[in-house]
């Protein structure tokens, strides 16, 4: 790995890890480029819906960073991080839906002779939102939906607390490896099954919709809204990258990579392994929650299928294809695979006619993805990010102090020089 050096000379983070500077520069250029080409503030080459796709991709890159931190660096193969992503989306979606419906209800009630009572307003909003699942009262979990600051706090707190409790139970019992992966799958499955129920209080399988319409900003065209969200996503990704780079750079990074490689040994060094795992698991859940809160207003709709087990498996596939254990690898993987997936499943990819059978990519894309995942695992475990090593190694071949042979019996560098 190229960016793991921990030396006695402490240079600023950016200098120790040139990849951070390179990444931030590319992200800034990309953001600028999209802005110039957009419909909202630029020449209009990129459509608003594609700006949204790019903004969503940046959010997926952010959650992939979280996945890389927890899996690539700490060795916890969590197959449940999209649950935290979804929870972040639901938390912000509740406020968006509430506030927008409130405006509509107030408008319609304004025509009445008497000013509406707060109870009438509340009932009006509730029947608007929950009519679709046959209810007309607010469930208790909507208690804070009227307040943007509280729901923003929920974006961080709900995934964070769930991860804290789940992680505490799992790590304390020393559940590791494939068993932990299964447990996280069970968690995300349980969550999605719960949300599918109409009486879960989050509109069952209808989910929350109309999230792209920001309350109070109805005059702002979607072309502008999409760019604001795109910028916010880019800033979040940049900050997330800096945070992750800082976390993995120092001794903390050393310890979590050591936990990944030999957990028992780290315990005998005196480090409370469970506390470290819990810290990483919770931190990454919070990052995933924030990514979700930025993603779903751009997607416009969130429903329980978004937290289905398969979503978290896709996340792991992105990170594996991009190259785990390096932050830019996760970003490359998420961007590359999710954009490719959009292209294939959007029907834009030309079908392949074999005469007797037509390969339609909408159906065959998942097969291709599965095959490439298997191939990456078998033949290129470093993923796409591994290509960067080929490039760097060409310029840094000189490793002083290395043995010329495999053991002490072989000729050493000092001897060879004299």
């Amino acid at each position: 790995m190229s960016d793991v050096a921990v030396g006695p000379v402490r240079k600023p983070l950016a200098l120790r890890f040139p990849s951070v500077m390179v990444f931030l520069a590319i992200l800034a250029l990309f953001t600028l480029g999209v802005t110039i080409l957009s419909e909202g503030f630029g020449v209009g080459v990129i459509s608003t819906s594609f700006v949204k796709t790019l903004g969503k991709t940046l959010c997926l890159c952010l959650v992939a960073l979280a996945m890389d931190l927890v899996w690539g660096y700490c060795g916890i193969l969590s197959l449940g991080h999209m649950a935290f992503f979804g929870l972040g989306g639901y938390a912000i979606g509740m406020w968006l839906m509430y506030a927008r419906t409130e405006i509509i209800v107030l408008e319609s009630l304004a025509a009445a002779e008497l000013p509406p009572t707060p109870q009438e307003v509340s009932d009006g909003i509730a029947s608007q939102i929950f009519g679709v699942v046959g209810a007309s009262e607010f469930p208790p979990i909507w208690a804070f939906a009227h307040s943007l600051p509280l729901q923003l706090a929920a974006v961080v707190l709900v995934p964070g607390l769930l991860a804290l409790v789940f992680g505490w139970l799992a790590f304390r019992s020393r559940v590791t490896g494939v068993y932990l992966s299964i447990l996280t799958q069970a968690m995300t499955l349980a969550l999605s099954l719960h949300l599918f129920q109409n009486d879960s209080g989050l509109r069952g399988n209808n989910g929350l919709s109309g999230l792209q319409n920001l309350p109070g900003l109805s005059e702002m065209p979607q072309s502008a809204v999409s760019l604001w969200f795109f910028w916010a996503s880019a800033v979040a990704l940049g900050l997330g990258y800096l945070l992750c780079a800082w976390v993995v750079s120092g001794k903390f990074g050393s310890v979590i990579r050591a936990i990944r490689d030999d957990e028992a040994r780290v315990r005998f060094l005196g480090y409370p392994v469970e506390a470290f795992k819990l810290a990483v698991f919770t931190l990454t859940a919070v990052i995933a929650g924030i990514a979700g809160a930025l993603y779903y207003p751009q997607a416009g709709i969130i429903n329980p299928a978004e937290v289905a087990p398969i979503a978290s498996i896709y996340l792991a596939v992105w990170v594996a294809i991009g190259g785990r254990g390096r932050l830019y690898g996760a970003v490359i993987g998420a961007a590359f695979v999710s954009l490719l997936s959009t292209w294939f499943t959007g029907g834009q990819a030309p079908d392949i006619r074999l005469g007797f059978y037509t390969i339609s990519w909408v159906d065959w894309w998942t097969v291709l993805l599965g095959l490439s995942f298997v191939c990456v695992t078998l033949f290129a475990p470093k993923g796409i990010g591994g290509l960067v090593d080929l490039f760097i190694d060409r310029y840094t071949p000189d490793r002083h102090g290395a043995d010329l042979g495999p053991d002490q019996g072989a000729l050493r560098e000092q001897e060879a020089e004299t």
Binding site: V6, R257, R267, P406
Partner: protein, 246 residues
């Protein structure tokens, strides 16, 4: 001399097999002790119990001035209060540099938050450099430890243990797979370490034990068979029968 570690009446079975059977012995502060015994005598299990990896069925293990019972503690807690362990197979973090390995082992606060905000001071860097000198890896400080030779990895692990500043050092077969020159160096490191702390060495190799020149405990079928100088125990009839005679 004060007793640092007291193992008292410890027994443990795995699936009915009694690995340790009513084992009792004591180790004083700043003592070098060799533990020998045939395969399956319970040498490694004894280390597992002291370091918290295995919970015994019965018995007690006291440690330190206050006589803390180690049995209720987690592995990391036991390591924090000063019990260091070197494994048979060298286990260093191969993906990381020698420097990072030593820095991780350095005696510092171990909680996630203090590790996250940790910045090595000049003193810490000097300490690491000094340790690297002691274990003969000064020039390899920035190499990945996975690139080191087998013997160098063993030393690195010993260096990591010294960095932890343990009061009790448990060393499992330190000379395994080493060249004669490396063995010599390892003996020196261990004897030097035993001047300021207790060191328990589990070893098969009689020549190596002889060079350590210390009190020897012979284990057999999970309990102490004989104790004393190497010459004393090698004259013991039972010891000759179960171990040396074969």
């Amino acid at each position: 001399m004060n007793t640092l570690l007291e193992v008292s009446g410890v027994s443990v079975s795995f699936d009915g097999f009694r690995a340790i059977n009513n084992l009792s012995f004591q180790i004083a502060e700043a003592e070098l002790r060799a533990v020998i015994g045939p395969n399956g005598a319970g040498k490694t299990t004894f280390m597992d119990i002291v370091t918290g990896k295995t919970k015994p069925d019965e018995g007690r293990v006291f440690y330190g001035d206050r006589g803390d019972n180690l049995l209720g503690m987690s592995e990391s807690r036991i390591a924090q209060i000063g019990v260091g362990r070197k494994f048979q197979r060298p286990t260093v973090f191969e993906d990381q540099s020698v420097f990072a390995n030593l820095m991780m082992a350095l005696r510092k606060r171990r909680s996630p938050l203090s590790v996250l905000f940790f910045k090595p001071s000049q003193e810490d860097n000097d300490k690491v450099a000094e340790l690297a000198g002691e274990i003969g890896l000064s020039s390899a400080l920035h190499r990945k430890s996975g690139e080191l030779s087998h013997g160098q990895k063993q030393w690195l692990e010993i260096g990591m243990l010294l960095a932890q500043e343990p009061r009790l050092l448990l060393v499992d077969e330190p000379a395994a797979g080493m060249t004669p020159a490396e063995r010599e160096h390892t003996t020196d490191i261990l004897r030097e370490a035993a001047k300021t702390r207790a060191v328990v060495v589990v070893e098969h190799d009689m020549e190596f034990v002889r060079r350590l020149n210390c009190k020897v405990t012979v284990l057999h079928e999970g309990s102490v068979l004989a104790e004393g100088s190497l010459d004393h125990v090698t004259k013991n009839e039972q010891v000759i029968e179960v171990y040396l005679g074969r």
